[in-house]
Symmetry: C2
Subunit: 411 residues, 2 copies
């Protein structure tokens, strides 16, 4: 099935809104095994939109539009699609949608009139429920079986409607599916990962293997084309096993699980109380960990020790050590870790010290220390990038290293 994505909205042309809708839909269309050769964006202009829809409706098996379903006079995508498909005579009130809208505006009947246009559909169309907003969508079907799906613009509404309503219908048209799994790599950069697994690229064509990276680290996507998800998983399994045999413990998670969740599971299994003493990362490590629900079992308190004095006062770091080695040093980081374990009620300690920049000569030099079960793991990093890149990467490394320390203690 050949699909065209047509996003509608003047705000997209003015640069007010980043188009994440077509990004989301692109992935979905790929996973359904459909072809996407083109995406188009136009503004809230009926004439231009009509021209596009008329031009493309016979050239593609399905056009998916987003945006322009709201109650105001700017919102004309559905009406324009109906016109393009010449279905104006078949429009009627969709009773179920009317009831939903009535329910929604109970006691505020003045809004009902404004919203009446939202419940009018050609009788042959499949109305798509909107559980996150008031405007329903639809799969409109023309007399020559042309298909135009109209979805709302707000990403939350659009995604929920696509997943709950449109995707199940589209799955019936799909004879093969594209299914991906990802493995997440800690500690290594993209080129290093690439080197380690380069021989696999030629070895496999289905599934394909593609590394990519973002702020959370390096990922390897394994993508299979198959008749079903079960079949795809079968094809992916041996390749994933081969990745594990090459990368081992460097793989910290699969399929979207975050490093914080992995760490939380480990804290739970080992019954660990964790505490941080953060200088350069200044609360970012503990904050990212607390993002995970249920972390209160394992983190009771933590310290931000940004100044030298705070490192001395809270952690008993010796002033001599700071003087001799400077505050950004392996030695100070080690004393920070030891101070936490000695003075506070925790059995895993995390400490950071470093130069974030921008004006430090040594900006990017960071020490990340973990103390656990009698061992200290102090690592030096030289991180390239601006102040926030340095702080974010140091935070990620610290969280990754919590995992490595716990795994090491099991050996």
């Amino acid at each position: 099935m050949d699909v065209l994505i047509l996003t509608v909205g003047t705000e997209l042309l003015l640069g007010d809104t980043l188009d994440t809708n077509s990004y989301y839909l692109s992935k979905k269309i790929r996973n359904l095994g459909f072809n996407l050769y083109k995406k188009v964006t136009v503004g809230d202009n009926t004439e231009r939109l009509l021209k596009e829809l008329r031009y493309y409706k016979d050239k593609y098996d399905l056009i998916i539009t987003t945006g322009g379903l709201g109650p105001t006079k700017d919102d004309l995508t559905k009406e324009t699609a109906i016109k393009a498909l010449e279905l104006e005579d078949e429009v009627e009130i969709h009773k179920l949608s009317l009831e939903t809208v009535k329910e929604h505006f109970k006691g505020r009947e003045e809004y009902l009139d404004l919203n009446m246009k939202q419940v009018m559909f050609p009788k042959n169309s499949i109305v798509l429920k909107n559980i996150k907003g008031t405007a329903p969508g639809a799969l409109l079907i023309g007399k020559q079986n042309e298909k135009i799906a109209v979805l709302p613009g707000p990403p939350k509404e659009m995604k929920t409607m696509f997943e709950n309503e449109l995707e199940p219908i589209l799955k019936k048209y799909s004879d093969s599916i594209i299914y991906s799994e990802t493995v997440h790599i800690a500690r290594l950069g993209e080129s290093k990962v690439f080197d380690m697994i380069s021989e696999l690229f030629d070895k496999y064509t289905n599934p394909t293997i593609a590394p990519y990276f973002n702020d959370d680290g390096v990922f390897i996507r394994i993508t299979a084309k198959a008749s079903s998800e079960i079949e795809a998983k079968k094809i992916i399994k041996p390749v994933k096993e081969e990745l594990y045999s090459i990368l081992g413990d460097l793989i910290y998670a699969e399929n979207g699980q975050s490093i914080e969740e992995v760490v939380k599971d480990l804290l739970e299994k080992e019954d660990i109380t964790l505490m941080t003493a953060e200088s350069i990362t200044g609360g970012m490590i503990v904050s990212r960990l607390i993002d995970i629900p249920g972390m209160s079992e394992f983190i009771k308190e933590s310290l931000v020790v940004y100044s030298d004095e705070a490192k001395v006062k809270y952690l008993g770091v010796s002033e001599q050590t700071i003087e001799k080695y400077t505050v950004v040093s392996e030695e100070v980081c080690k004393e920070m870790v030891e101070g936490l374990l000695k003075t506070y009620n925790c059995n895993l300690a995390v400490a950071t010290t470093g130069y974030a920049g921008p004006d430090d000569e040594k900006a990017g030099l960071v020490y990340v220390g973990i103390g656990y079960k009698g061992k200290n793991y102090i690592k030096e990093y030289n991180i390239k990038g601006d102040r926030n890149t340095v702080r974010r990467k140091a935070t990620r490394y610290a969280i990754e290293n919590i995992r490595f320390a716990i795994l090491d203690s099991r050996k």
Copy 2:
């Protein structure tokens, strides 16, 4: 000038890459006062790309493409644009680009051959330097004066090239500019701000006034069309003054300055040492503040007091208060603030306590407390949204309230 943006890249159609390039260019085109009615995305497929370029080259005054300028055989945008403009016979080596590439690959001559295609341009074209990568771009000019600008795909390279090379050329074609300023609003939601300034919408047509919001709060954009930036600023000034007269201290910044920077300036002016005791926000407030360079002058240390025990131990919150009012209460928040000011070396205290969810019945109930110059400012919030929305919003409110407390102390 009517412009078409044409982004090229199979990764954009597969949903691997979010198209931020066309978002960036949309804004730039708007600011130049040009018209953008349409954006198109196609894959790295010469045939389809050629079809698009041939179709659109006479319909628009300028097509701007991004992507497909690299050295590999997939990268065919420039070659295809040359073909669409029928300039194949006029291609020659661009000497300056050749020297740059030679310099770049010094000692690795094997790469030079691969990159030769990057230095070939029609003699009539304007070559655009790429200081962030190896592939130069170009403004290609056809025999009937059709214009196609080819820019690289990587956002850093594209943006730098646009700003340094293409924008100065395009400015010559612009007879009016679009210039915007923004004011940033604290404390209020979008609908409230909208209500307060609704009368201004009809009052002004140039400049126009548009409120919008994101995770950082509510913003009002004032946009003027004028012959020059000076002229535009003149038009905007009285409107901005009117906004200040309505919103007063609720406006915390203009034109992209962050609330953290505003707070830093205030800490500096008043010579304040700030300390946080964070429960629900768990380090996020102090971490966001430390994101701003130079904050080490004003923040020496901070506490994450996630458990009840930590609140008692570090801040002297009374167990009776916790028992009587629960740990998420105005009373506990107040004792947290007071404990910080009494026990630690700070003169502005920030404390948070709340339920982040997802499983708490009262998820979203948050108290944010500031203590400064003998006054406590304890505020209750009921924040809607998931765990991270609650934590992020509580963090923003806390940082906004630091500013309000300091402003209040000056009255």
